[in-house]
């Protein structure tokens, strides 16, 4: 493979006229559903084009067609004016389209340099692989995107953010004209995000057309030049970012207006202490964390990546071991320190990682909902299914959980509906304290406000809600009091009305 990427844009004059990639009338059906219907997308070289939409809108189908993972059923794809037929990921790469998926597709046992030249190692005269050239070329590539990764490092040992850079370097090695970033920031720290944005801007400056797939509004406003919104497999709008406001963008995405993302129905919090945590420490993270949560309040915990929010959440419900400190739920001490004691006392965790810690994906909705309260529906160890189904059906109705039936496997529900089932799991059991960790992770904008309303309702019904979040609007919109963590310590607790973004961030930095 020639490494001619050091001299880009020789035909830049043509590039600015002819789109880097033009998709016209793209259609894709899966039996029973139209995933994409007559979708257009035009990418200009040197521009960052955001692709937005809720889950199921067709974003991923569209980029998978670009990547050659799926074939299209209708429409045409042109690269710089020439119609191309992308039948496989290899074709797509050859045409100069590089998609960086969320699940990074690198071989973790190989070095960075080996990964970059995976599709074609430069060889010496004898046919042996020219390692020296590989390393030198990788270093040159990183230099071009202004990011430094050791080309000889084992890829698996790098954080996700740097593996993304390796993927981007691979794109350059293939002389990609189009680079697609699929939800690239979902597991990055704020610092890493700004580094990534710098690199993306450099790609654009090199004349590469960048597609930025995301549902995070603030990011899109920060980085995109143009926004295309898809909804239900159809093209809704393509506008310059300057023509959008937060509201118009949300409206395009969900097809209706959301007047108030944080509807507050509940009254003021009570004074009764439902949860009291004293000098809690764990082996790996937490240091002397002490706080109280009252019945009827939402206590929001903020912190940057690695501050220890999830660790705290798992420790106070008895899931992860602690080294010292006490946890008291409704006046009774959580001892022995395990979840069965915790649940008995009335504290439970709504996990941030639904898939691996919350859902029983293969099992039906009703079994997922009743898991924690099954004993209440049993006599002599036998489950009274009629009673159980009725109780679950009540929650499905009350929370408007969208599912074709109680027998549907829960993995087929949308994120928002899955979350509602998991909240039902706890409500059916009856808790005093619910710890919610990133309650809207992976949930569509439209469903988010419903989850917020549910959390509001939980507090309104007298539960103490301890909410871990990294989303500032969520924190400010929902919490009565705000606690901030930094590197395993609690650095500030303040009432909502005294909190400002600045105060919170200062405490989060430590």
């Amino acid at each position: 493979m020639s490494v001619d990427f050091l001299h880009p844009g020789e035909d830049a004059a043509i590039d600015t006229i002819v789109p880097a990639l033009e998709m016209r009338g793209i259609g894709k059906r899966f039996p029973g559903v139209v995933a994409l219907d007559n979708v257009d997308l035009t990418l200009e070289p040197g521009k960052i084009h955001a692709l937005m939409g809720e889950n199921g809108a067709g974003k991923s189908t569209l980029i998978k067609i670009m990547a050659g993972v799926y074939g299209k059923d209708a429409g045409t794809i042109r690269m710089r004016g020439r119609e191309v037929d992308v039948k496989s990921p290899r074709d797509s790469l050859k045409e100069g389209i590089k998609v960086v998926f969320q699940e990074i597709a690198l071989i973790s046992e190989f070095t960075v340099a080996e990964n970059i030249f995976l599709e074609g190692y430069p060889t010496g005269r004898t046919g042996s692989i020219d390692w020296k050239k590989i390393r030198a070329d990788s270093a040159a590539l990183f230099n071009r995107i202004g990011f430094n990764v050791d080309p000889t490092a084992r890829t698996g040992s790098l954080p996700v953010s740097q593996q993304q850079m390796v993927e981007i370097a691979r794109a350059l090695a293939h002389e990609a004209r189009v680079v697609v970033m699929d939800e690239p920031t979902s597991s990055l720290t704020p610092n890493e995000v700004s580094l990534l944005f710098a690199v993306i801007r450099r790609l654009a400056a090199l004349g590469i057309a960048v597609v930025y797939v995301s549902h995070k509004l603030d990011e899109v406003f920060e980085i995109a030049d143009t926004v295309t919104v898809l909804r239900d497999g159809r093209h809704i709008s393509t506008k310059l970012i300057g023509e959008h406001t937060n509201d118009t963008l949300i409206q395009d995405m969900i097809g209706r207006r959301i007047d108030n993302l944080f509807p507050r129905q509940r009254g003021a919090a009570g004074s009764k202490v439902a949860l009291s945590v004293e000098k809690l420490s764990t082996a790996k993270k937490l240091i002397d964390v002490s706080f109280e949560a009252r019945a009827g309040e939402v206590l929001g915990f903020f912190g940057l990546m690695g501050a220890g929010r999830t660790e705290l959440a798992k420790a106070i419900v008895g899931y992860d071991p602690i080294t010292s400190g006490t946890i008291t739920v409704d006046g009774r001490r959580l001892s022995p320190h395990d979840t069965s004691t915790g649940v008995r006392l009335g504290i439970g965790l709504l996990t941030e990682d639904r898939k691996s810690e919350g859902l029983m994906g293969e099992l039906p909705v009703y079994q997922n909902a009743s898991l924690a309260s099954l004993g209440a529906f049993a006599r002599l160890g036998f489950v009274d299914k009629a009673k159980e189904h009725q109780a679950v059906q009540d929650y499905v109705d009350r929370f408007r959980i969208k599912t074709p039936s109680l027998f549907q496997q829960i993995k087929n529900l949308s994120g928002g509906n899955q979350q509602k089932v998991l909240i039902s799991r706890w409500l059916m059991r009856g808790l005093k304290v619910i710890v919610v960790d990133e309650p809207t992770r992976g949930i569509d904008v439209g469903a988010k406000s419903e989850i917020f309303a549910l959390i509001d309702r939980l507090a309104g019904e007298g539960l103490a809600v301890v909410m871990m979040t990294s989303e500032m609007p969520e924190l400010l919109g929902l919490a009565d009091r705000i606690a901030v963590m930094c590197e395993g310590r609690l650095t500030a607790v303040m009432p909502r009305n005294e909190a400002t973004q600045e105060k919170i961030l200062n405490a989060a930095i430590g």
Binding site: P31, L363, V383
Partner: protein, 327 residues
């Protein structure tokens, strides 16, 4: 995308509410086998032969009932074959020295249950993968049984009640078949209708979610291991009754037959999915093949070869069926 999955799930519900559709495939295989063998060899359909098949199914079904529960929790026990042989020797030895079937039975159950407990503790406490842990136990038992006895433990007192355990009849039905049916029904009811059964599926589907819900997932797994062990205890005594001796060499490869039947029945090694009814069909298919090979006078070595082919084929059909549902 969501509409897509909804549609397919509804289809699946219509087809599979009563019978999981992997059972449909298996039922069809069983029917085809029976018909084909009957055409080639009409004596297949004689009462004597059917009873013989059922008797051969009994031992496997007893242990497979426990194993189904265990595999549903996403664990597996490879030591059941080795344990089966050891249990027979111990039961027979205790029977010889005490002249009491009850004590012999008790010793067999205690030993086999103990093996299950040991496996369970190694897996849940030491967190050793169950495949590895139970291979270790299997080797220990295979060697250990020779430390216990170098040759078969002969039956010295010929208690009729003991002989009946393996060779007796109630009406036309062999006693082992009745015992197997009882154990099967207990296991079936447990899995289908009790909270314990639901928790076993839940542990297999997502152990962490179960733990976060305040349930003791490790105890549930331990219980499944011990349950499997107790089934081996019963099967071991029946086997030694049938052979009129405790044979240290018995039970080689038995664990594979059992696991094959369970997997053939559609129980997922990943846990959370499976049914005892499927296991029953799986056992029947394997034993009908065995029987057919004998009746047709084929080379006996095919008794290993054919089931191997059937397992791969049935699993492949299951994958095709799943894919058809997803599309």
């Amino acid at each position: 995308m969501s509409e897509l999955t909804h549609a397919s799930a509804q289809k699946r519900l219509i087809g599979g509410q009563l019978l999981g559709s992997s059972q449909l495939v298996l039922g069809a295989i069983l029917a085809v086998l029976c018909i084909a063998i009957s055409i080639a060899a009409p004596q297949f359909y004689s009462e004597a032969n059917i009873i013989a098949i059922l008797r051969q199914c009994a031992l496997v079904l007893i242990v497979a009932s426990g194993m189904t529960m265990l595999i549903i929790t996403a664990e597996v026990d490879l030591s059941v074959g080795a344990s089966l042989a050891f249990v027979g020797c111990i039961g027979m030895a205790v029977l010889n020295s005490t002249h009491s079937l009850a004590l012999g039975m008790l010793a067999a159950l205690a030993f086999a249950g103990g093996v299950g407990l040991f496996n369970g503790l190694v897996v849940t406490r030491l967190r050793v993968n169950s495949l590895i842990a139970t291979i270790g136990t299997m080797m220990m038992l295979q060697g250990g049984v020779y430390l216990f006895t170098r040759e078969a433990v002969q039956n010295h007192n010929q208690l009729t009640s003991f002989t009946d355990l393996g060779a007796g009849y109630v009406g036309a039905v062999p006693v082992p078949v009745i015992i197997a049916a009882l154990i099967f029904v207990v296991a079936y009811v447990t899995l289908r209708f009790t909270t314990l059964g639901r928790y076993l599926y839940a542990v297999g589907a997502n152990e962490r979610a179960v733990r976060l819900s305040g349930l003791r997932s490790e105890r549930l797994k331990l219980l499944a291991f011990v349950g499997t062990g107790l089934c081996v205890g019963v099967a071991g005594m029946i086997l030694s009754s049938l052979m009129n001796a405790g044979q240290p060499t018995a039970g080689r490869g038995f664990e594979l037959t059992v696991i094959a039947a369970v997997i053939l029945g559609g129980t997922s090694l990943l846990g959370g999915r499976g049914s005892l009814f499927g296991t029953l069909l799986g056992v029947l298919v394997l034993k009908v093949i065995d029987n057919g090979i004998i009746i047709l006078g084929w080379n006996q070595d095919l008794q290993m070869v054919v089931p191997g082919i059937v397992i791969i084929l049935a699993t492949y059909l299951d994958i095709i069926r799943n894919n058809a549902n997803v599309r």
